[in-house]
Symmetry: C3
Subunit: 347 residues, 3 copies
């Protein structure tokens, strides 16, 4: 279903400059877009890239319209409107209702007539799959799980017993939702397992990345609020709570019972220790380590910048002396001020 520029702009509620009758078949980057493609330009970036595009149409800010060599669709938020346009040009594949041959669905599980269960998927006793939901190939949907309407579960995902996913979630392949958390009490040289009997409760419009793991709560639930987006290879431990609209990039680890507020962004490979609280609207840069609660919105960082290995070795070795260095500077300052006052007396 091709979209003319005119129709697309109309749907987005945006004005355009140029010939609106051209058809767009796909979304693409500035560099790879051809005449059948829509692209976008981030204001403030190198305008030569815009000037050189071969796209059929570009979503741009008003200020950049002049520089565009093709039809311009004018937006205050080009990236957001590109996202919306891209969804129109590339809609999700339709869900084919029905249970595939080779899927195994427990007799007392409920699968809505408008849901799809793919080959090799296993849906266990008492589970409930709502209309428009899609259970990918080789998934394991545990007993009494609930999968909300229009939620799509990628291949080979595991959803453990009793966990709940809301509507319109998209789960990438290989995720594990509802594994047992890491709860053990020390008993001399041994560890005694603490049964993990809570659930994972996931809201609506949540995205979860490939091979991401989310542990069930110990006795309460692990809770992922509406609109949270999680990238690949993230580890969310038991009893964690993540507020609405928070985005977490790949490889982040969140330890047990941490509470993360709404609208936060957590950069890739950051680490968040357990039993702490992060308020709303906190931004953690990539690879930072959060050891304590954060009670104030804003951007927080830790880490040490990259440098040539030889220089790094020298500087890193000095880190061990940092406290002593600071004390030596204290001493020098005392000396210096003693000298100054001494000097004054001498005059």
């Amino acid at each position: 279903m091709p979209w003319t520029i005119h129709k697309l702009a109309e749907r987005l509620g945006l004005e355009y400059r140029g010939d609106g009758t051209c058809a767009l078949a796909r979304a693409a980057s500035l560099e790879s877009a051809g005449p059948d493609a829509l692209t976008f330009f981030v204001p403030g970036t190198a305008v030569e890239r815009l000037a050189a595009t071969r796209a059929g149409a570009v979503i741009v800010c008003a200020d950049d319209v002049e520089a565009a060599p093709c039809v311009s669709i004018v937006s205050d938020e080009p990236y957001l409107h590109f996202a919306r346009a891209s969804q129109l040009l590339h809609p999700l594949p339709a869900v084919e209702p029905g249970i595939a041959t080779g899927a195994t669905v427990a007799p007392d599980a409920f699968v809505d007539e408008q849901a799809h269960v793919a080959t090799g998927a296993i849906v266990e006793t008492g589970a409930r799959i709502e209309g428009g939901a899609m259970i990918g190939p080789a998934c394991v949907i545990g007993s009494n799980v609930r999968i909300g309407p229009d939620t799509r579960i990628g291949a080979r995902t595991v959803v453990g017993d009793r966990c709940i996913l809301g509507a319109r979630c998209i789960i990438q392949p290989g995720a594990v939702i509802g594994s047992d958390g890491f709860g053990f009490a020390r008993d001399g040289e041994a560890w005694v397992r603490i049964p993990q009997i809570g659930r994972v409760v996931i809201g609506d419009d949540v995205a979860i990345g490939a091979n991401t793991t989310i542990d069930r709560g110990t006795s309460d639930d692990t809770v992922i609020a509406n609109g949270v987006i999680l990238d690949n290879q993230i580890q969310i431990a038991h009893n964690v709570r993540i507020g609405a609209g928070t985005a977490i990039a790949g490889c982040v680890g969140v330890a047990g019972s941490a509470v993360i507020g709404a609208r936060c962004t957590i950069g890739g490979a950051a680490g968040i220790l357990g039993h702490l609280e992060i308020v709303d609207d906190v931004h953690i840069t990539a690879r930072s380590m959060v050891r304590n609660s954060i009670t104030r919105a804003g951007t927080w960082s830790s880490g040490v910048p990259l440098e040539p290995h030889r220089e790094w070795r020298r500087n890193a070795a000095r880190f061990h002396q940092l406290d002593r260095l600071a004390r030596r500077v204290n001493a020098l300052e005392k000396d210096s001020s003693a000298h100054k006052s001494g000097g004054i007396r001498r005059e």
Copy 2:
């Protein structure tokens, strides 16, 4: 099977204060426990939380009994006894003996009559599954693997050829045990693969987290001793050896041929380089980086604390100058002491 407080305390070998006839149905946190729930209180934490609980019974230290608003079960180690009580209240589901329809078991594999192989699981030639073991849905158990008695393998776990798991292990979904290690020799611009022909040998009472990966040894084995507990998303490289009772938190990476002692604890997302040795009873805090052998028990750390991004940028930039800064302080100290002695001479 409900437990009365009396019966539970008796089984734990503990005294209690109050009415022992009440039945307990579940374990819960202080905050969420209702009258049918057992909870626990960590000595030294905020006693108001204890005072406010609606639990039916609480495991507490003797000193905190007065503050408990419900029946108290008195313990020197409340968390440990809570773990034990929790296992009594929430026993693992019974293993239903038999091979499910939809499982594929090689004709010459041995599956004990008291073991369970779930739907979609594949058990390859020569594998041996002992009594009480449970192979979860969609697992792949390679040829000549041995799974010890009462070991439970979560959904979609892969155990590679010839690997060995002991008794009473619990493996969370998505783990990969026995992948080929990362062994390559450089040949100009190419890499020549070194066949990985060792095994993974796992002891008894080992826990392994979701999507954790353990590589087989190159020619010797990768060895995980009895009672080791591993959290989610951990990477254990080839030839690693981990001593009994060591606990490793989520997202840790252990590089090839590292040897970790017994009773160690490794915090989340820590990194351990290869070909080094860590003695027994070492504790590594979260996100630390171990580059060299540790020959002394105790707690070790690395990393840099979080701060507001703006301040971090300034401080991090100075890290590059740390060696020079230290040399400058050296010079100032020399000057200062030269001045002092000079000053003395001047007087």
Copy 3:
């Protein structure tokens, strides 16, 4: 098929010293090798280890021949020749042509007669599996995927629609190739998904580790060039390009649109931010964080070394004061030089 030392050395194009008629059955480490095993010795390491080996033959540098207690195969690059010899002693298992019972292959998918599709594997519509390829148990091969000749896909791997793998690749279990990238545009409190319509295009002779994830490109492709080797639990985000012969160790995260050159090595758990470029022949040490483009070949590092926790706490606390400390040293230096010139004037 046993190899005599003579035959093996001949095939490697190397000389040997001693009795070449002995048969070798396996490759092993210096310590574990018995009389039927080949081992190797890294020049410059502890020669006692060589002297103590019970191996039947050892690959050594000419300088170490005297120290070898067994037959010596002489090489300038013992590790490389050990890798080659090890492949001869332990060839990959033969691929048994055919589609196993319990595999599901779409009617219009092409599976070469010399390819193998294992039990529980799913091959979707339009996919193409070339000769000598092996699709492991419980894999999901998406629609229109192409798997090149002699490529081996480990158990439970997912390859998403339209992705392409070249020849002779080896993929460990649990990898996800072609998940949707983490592309979202902010819309107030919500996130708007950007369809990910690119592919993952993987060259020849690529190795991919267990549970590693590689996202498809947004509109262009994610590209892994020939001869790249990736360890376990790596996350490669959308639109990333990795040059030929680059090696990446476990737990590394590479953010979106990063471009990594050829022949680079990236140490374990390093992090590479998005939209940056790393030139050829760059080496990043383990756990370093790359925030900016690297335009110069060489070895780069970041991080802070491990120390006892008590000392670390003191030093880490001082990191917050580093910028101030540097300014204080500046002031002391000014003072000191003012004093010196003052002193001169006073004289």
